[in-house]
Symmetry: C2
Subunit: 174 residues, 2 copies
């Protein structure tokens, strides 16, 4: 890949704190682990922010989450490509070569996404045209888009997990 | 890839119906969409079974989910490779070339996994050594292991989503 990695922000729509907090947490942590720099959640959720911030404080990196932000404003202000992940979209393999590799806003919905989003997006992309999980879709999209580089980035955390064939090896910064 | 695709079964440990149903549903649907033939959940959960069975009835394929099965028995009876996905494991890139491509049992935990599992597994594999999501880990593992073939498989369902750049195109069998 080129020297400058693409700038990736994930926008989560339709989050309902009581019902969706766990899955939205998975969305945010997946965004972080696979190479996004930020997640934006359309509904305010302080608990979600605290959970994600704790992981960042412990495991490192500059990832940030913001909640309670108007998704329309985020999409309108975005200058790069807008990619909406939906099982109704064109296949990932068809879309990937056409998505510009500079700035990408990746939209993932919770339940039903407003029809408007399909028109605002530059690309409606299906990671498989089967129902599964927005977490899975986001992970595989980022993994393919960054050609594995997202997972290869080092995180300078206070806690570092050292890859190991058996058991757990954890290094803690003094 | 070779003519015979690997046989893949996903084993979900530590499922608590009240807390984990939604994420475990994502695990099962991800297993189905990315190329596994079956999911086994260690705790009995009729609601989970019904949800997954409904998706299979509508969208097709031979995927099955079983709940309330002893995970020790599943692991002991398994004749192929056992791959445990954990952020403590060796990196996916190191492990992948060594995993035999015939029969694979993929273990994903909910909360803390019994230490025993690390020893019973032939491979403890980290899809990134960062905390994120078992759904993301499973999706990317299967996508890489099957080199994208999992997503390319056709499903002969009563409902077929036709890939589309805008909007939703759904074909229903008469």
């Amino acid at each position: 890949m080129s020297a400058d990695p693409p700038r990736i922000v994930v926008l989560r729509l339709g989050h309902r704190p009581a019902r969706d907090r766990r899955v939205t947490t998975h969305v945010c942590l997946t965004a972080r682990a696979f190479g996004a720099e930020r997640a934006i959640v359309s509904t305010k959720d302080g608990g979600l922010e605290r959970t994600v911030d704790k992981v960042v404080a412990k495991f490192g990196g500059g990832f940030a989450v913001e909640t309670g932000v108007s998704w329309r404003k985020v999409v309108n202000d975005w200058r790069g490509a807008v990619v909406h992940l939906t099982m109704y979209g064109e296949t990932l393999e068809d879309a990937l070569p056409r998505i510009p590799r500079d700035e990408v806003l990746v939209i993932v919905g919770a339940q039903k996404v407003p029809g408007e989003v399909f028109n605002l997006a530059d690309f409606n992309v299906a990671v498989g045209n089967q129902p599964h999980s927005e977490v899975a879709a986001l992970a595989v999209f980022l993994d393919r888009f960054l050609e594995g580089d997202g997972l290869r980035r080092p995180f300078a955390g206070n806690v570092v997990i050292v890859p190991s064939r058996r058991g757990k090896t954890v290094r803690t910064r003094a």
